[in-house]
């Protein structure tokens, strides 16, 4: 590996170094604020390295990793998302003096490392490596409230299902390798075009890979774990699972399909269409039945990943742009929504029950207003990022004439409105919460307050004037 390779790889290296630094700092002396500072400095440093690497891309650092501008863009998105989660964690765990949250920062750093590896993978080996680094970190993060049965249960559930899906993924990779003799994305495409290749085996392999990816994205029918994990995990961790982990996986999906020319398999697109339709319907319909805000957000995220597939299927530059833009909007909005939940929760007693949100507006108007903005953005109402994002997705779908998908999107997002409105109605209801919880009266934390403020500004800013973000995306993620 030469100097260019090293510089382009620098962001990933710095993230890895951050996790070690936090570990060492914690070993030296247990201090919450020190762990926070080291993590934030490390992640910001990695972010700065993106600008150093930018002039040198695209560059193949070994056959495993290919850093191009879209990889840099998604690493930046992952870092920004992780940074927001770090601040959420800080505000969340500061409320409990006897908790030991320092290790969580190590796990966040390693999870970010895994995600960054995923989005720059160019080879089955690096794909699997990134996926496992991410998954193993997530097991720890989800079960971090280890005194809590529900948290441990969520962690175990995730562990078992993730392991199962990873084995399917491995099997798929093995089938493809057996038939094509290569594990590099670019070579898979050319090998599959050669005569004498058994297309059925290759397709079977790709479908199995899709199953592995679909599990991480919580697409129907691989979504069963999502609500339980979101509910059981500490609120900031749920935010991480909903955004960074899914975003990285989706970027990988985009990259894999593009570089390995998987779009050539018509059957695969049909499978994706079915999955998308099922996700949109199941996510939005099942959310109607929930009474727990974290579970509602879980089902909502299932539906949103379905919308993303609509953009994904559009193919071409438009698809890439729409996916990138949707992810930016979705990151900001989901982090904001879970941020509000975090603001109202303490470790061990997350505020999930919808009844406890009743009348929040009359006690904490600013917080309720932020939550309203986030919910409206999830519903895709103007003045919010979610509106422009949904607009872009429908535009991408319409440009590719995907009528079935667009029709499903329209119908299901109207259904989806109902449960967002249910939360909003509760927020503004004049009836007070039946049990005034301690957390509701909890003083605002500066870290949380600022994070939410910035996220709200981003959501409304993108909603009103999306041009700069669009320009960035069109420059960075051009295929």
């Amino acid at each position: 590996m030469n100097a260019t390779g090293f510089i382009t790889l620098l962001p990933i290296v710095v993230i890895a170094a951050t996790s070690i630094a936090v570990m060492l700092a914690t070993a030296l002396r247990r201090s919450h604020i020190a762990a926070l500072i080291v993590t934030v400095v490390g992640l910001c440093g990695a972010f700065a390295c993106l600008f150093v690497a930018a002039p040198l891309v695209p560059y193949d650092v070994t056959p495993l990793i290919r850093i191009d501008s879209s990889a840099l863009f998604y690493i930046g998105l992952i870092l920004a998302g992780s940074l927001a989660v770090v601040f959420l964690c800080y505000g969340y765990y500061r409320r409990q003096t006897h908790s030991r949250p320092e290790e969580l920062y190590i796990l966040i750093a390693t999870a970010a490392l895994g995600s960054a590896t995923l989005v720059s993978a160019n080879h089955f080996a690096s794909l699997f490596l990134g996926l496992e680094i991410l998954s193993v970190s997530l097991y720890g993060m989800i079960a971090y409230s280890r005194d809590l049965k529900i948290s441990v249960e969520a962690g175990l559930k995730y562990l078992v299902l993730a392991a199962a899906s990873a084995s399917l993924l491995l099997f798929g990779m093995a089938l493809d390798y057996f038939e094509l003799g290569s594990m590099e994305f670019g070579q898979i495409a050319s090998a599959a075009a050669l005569p004498g290749v058994d297309g059925v085996v290759v397709l079977l392999g790709v479908v199995l890979i899709l199953v592995g990816i679909g599990f991480k994205l919580a697409l129907v029918p691989f979504h069963m774990w999502t609500p339980d994990v979101y509910q059981g995990a500490p609120a900031p961790v749920s935010a991480f699972v909903a955004t960074v982990s899914k975003g990285a996986m989706f970027a990988l999906l985009l990259r894999y399909f593009d570089r390995a020319s998987a779009r050539n398999y018509g059957a695969l697109l049909l499978v994706l269409t079915i999955i998308a339709v099922a996700s949109m319907f199941a996510g939005n319909l099942l959310a109607l039945l929930q009474n727990n805000v974290k579970r509602i957000l879980a089902y909502s995220s299932i539906a949103h990943l379905g919308y993303l597939i609509v953009a994904f299927e559009a193919s071409g530059d438009m698809a890439g742009f729409a996916v990138a833009f949707y992810l930016v909007a979705y990151f900001a909005t989901m982090l904001g929504a879970f941020g509000v939940v975090t603001m109202l929760s303490t470790p061990g007693s997350d505020l999930g029950d919808l009844n406890l949100y009743r009348g929040l507006f009359w006690r904490r108007p600013a917080l309720a207003a932020v939550f309203t903005v986030m919910l409206l953005s999830l519903a895709g109402i103007p003045l919010t990022a979610g509106f422009v994002a949904k607009f872009y997705v429908v535009a991408a779908g319409a440009s590719a004439l995907l009528w079935l998908l667009i029709f499903t999107l329209v119908v299901t997002s109207a259904i989806g409105l109902y449960y967002y409105l249910r939360i909003i109605v509760a927020l503004y209801s004049r009836a007070q919460a039946p049990v005034p919880t301690a957390a509701v009266g909890f003083p605002a934390s500066a870290a949380l307050g600022w994070t939410l403020g910035v996220l709200t500004a981003i959501v409304i800013g993108i909603g009103c004037y999306p041009s700069p973000v669009l320009r960035l995306i069109q420059a960075m993620t051009k295929l």
Partner: protein, 495 residues
């Protein structure tokens, strides 16, 4: 730039009102009132300034324009433009805006600041709809008016407000999304044909479309407007929303929100898809005629005074649909006149209902009766606007409906006859209001405070404007005629 100010004033005043309510509720009310009056003054100023130009029928129908780049990547512009049609509807918007601030002066006592924020932002959204010439901007404004309206009903409404507000939101949102898809398809077809990506109305007017494509896209637009209008059988959200909304909400819903649907049909559906609209016209007109009769019959059967008034809207807006899809000069003039007058007369009826409810805490017709003895001014006003609603000559509604009937007769005789029967049925419900509520013996021994000066002022101004529209409507016709001519010639040209 003055067009942008119309919107900016409302948006900023909304925020100011929300903040100022922390110190004084009255301050919030005064700020909102001042903002609506200022906008009304601005639009009247524009009217006077362009009065000469309007009658000269200039080459371009636009009196004022504002065009700035917004999201260049998609070819989206911040393009506002004003012609005679928009001007009159904006004048109605700000007039009813001021009225709704006044009529909620004592009705709204809880979270006054947030109420006025919502109220002014709805008005901003509606003004945006009437001004937007970029289809993205139009959709943006179209959706923008929903959320504050939803809050208005859900937070300050009556008993079944949550149900009504959610129903309202779901109906309008679903139909809005269909329009979004239609807009996007039009956008891509335009790109295919010309190679430019644009949402600009005037450019999209020249998109060559196959007849199948035009029909389906037209249907997308039509769905959104028909729900808002509301056209039978898509009207079911309306009685609930109108009944449960606070008075100001009902005034804005009936007076303005419904008009955005009619405006959309005149501005977009017919000019963008003239042939498809002509093919579809019999269906739309039949539904409109059914709506006229159905709304009147339903209104006659209601026991809740507010619900009764709500159903009359279904009936009146049926005339508007008939007028628009007849698409001749008389019918269009009648449709516009009906839109303006219905806004005022139904708005006034809602205000009177609200005033009654504030006094006797019920909307049940059965609990009223004989109110004339105790509140003569209120009851007299009730009689006046009920007569306006049934189409008494001399008041504005009569002119509108009469012209629609004349115009429709040319396009479709049978429907014109059915609609004329509808005028007759209006007599039943209008007189029923008067008889049940105001006349007869005062069985429940009500002793009410009559209209206070504030209410008297609102009602007086509304009554006077209705009389003006009924006796001397010529300035109105002069103002929107050039705009209508421009639209008609576009349609002629494209056919």
């Amino acid at each position: 730039m003055i067009l942008a100010w119309l919107l900016i004033i409302l948006v900023v005043a909304g925020v100011l009102a929300a903040i100022s309510a922390r110190w004084s509720h009255h301050l919030a009310r005064w700020i909102s009132f001042a903002a609506t009056l200022l906008d009304l003054a601005l639009i009247l100023f524009l009217w006077v300034r362009h009065a000469g130009e309007i009658s000269l029928s200039p080459s371009s129908p636009w009196l004022e324009q504002l065009d700035g780049s917004w999201i260049p990547q998609f070819g989206i512009h911040f393009h506002l433009a004003l012609d005679g049609l928009s001007l009159l509807l904006l004048a109605l918007t700000f007039f009813l805006g001021a009225v709704s601030v006044l009529c909620s002066w004592t009705e709204i006592t809880e979270s006054v600041g947030f109420f006025h924020l919502n109220l002014l932002w709805i008005l901003a959204g509606i003004s945006g709809v009437f001004l937007a010439l970029d289809l993205f901007l139009f959709y943006f404004a179209w959706e923008l008016m929903l959320v504050p309206m939803y809050f208005l009903i859900a937070l300050w409404g009556h008993e079944r407000r949550v149900y009504a507000s959610i129903k309202f939101f779901l109906f309008t949102q679903l139909s809005g999304l269909m329009m979004l898809v239609a807009i996007l398809v039009l956008y891509f077809l335009h790109h295919e044909a010309t190679g430019t990506y644009t949402f600009d109305y005037e450019q999209l007017l020249h998109t060559p479309l196959s007849s199948t494509a035009a029909f389906w896209i037209m249907l997308g637009f039509f769905a959104a407007f028909a729900v808002k209008l509301p056209l039978f059988p898509l009207h079911t959200w309306l009685p609930d929303a109108h009944t449960e909304a606070p008075t100001a909400g009902s005034v804005i819903l009936a007076g303005l929100l419904l008009k955005t649907g009619a405006y959309g049909m005149i501005r977009f559906v017919v000019p963008l898809f003239p042939d498809a609209a002509r093919e579809f016209a019999p269906v739309a007109m039949t539904l409109g005629a059914i709506g006229i009769i159905y709304g009147a019959v339903q209104a006659f059967g209601q026991h809740d005074l507010k619900r009764l008034v709500a159903y009359t809207s279904v009936s009146h807006l049926g005339f508007v649909v008939l007028g628009v899809f007849s698409w001749n000069e008389l019918a269009l003039q009648g449709a516009l006149m009906t839109m303006l007058c219905h806004g005022i007369s139904t708005g006034a009826l809602f205000i009177l209902t609200g005033a009654l409810q504030e006094r006797i805490h019920t909307r049940e017709l059965g609990r009223m009766g004989g109110l004339w003895a105790t509140a003569p001014r209120l009851s007299g006003a009730g009689l006046y606007f009920a007569l306006a609603s049934l189409g008494l000559p001399g008041l504005g509604d009569f002119i509108g409906e009469f012209l629609v009937l004349l115009g429709t007769y040319r396009a479709h005789r049978i429907l014109a006859i059915i609609a004329a029967i509808g005028v007759l049925t209006a007599t039943f419900y209008a007189l029923r209001i008067v008889q049940r509520a105001f006349q007869g013996p005062n069985e429940h021994a009500w002793s009410l405070r009559d209209l206070v000066p504030r209410e008297g002022l609102i009602i007086g101004v509304m009554a006077a404007s209705l009389l003006w529209l009924g006796l001397y409507p010529q300035p109105i016709f002069n103002t929107f005629s050039p705009a209508l001519h421009a639209l008609e010639s576009t349609v002629q040209f494209r056919r």
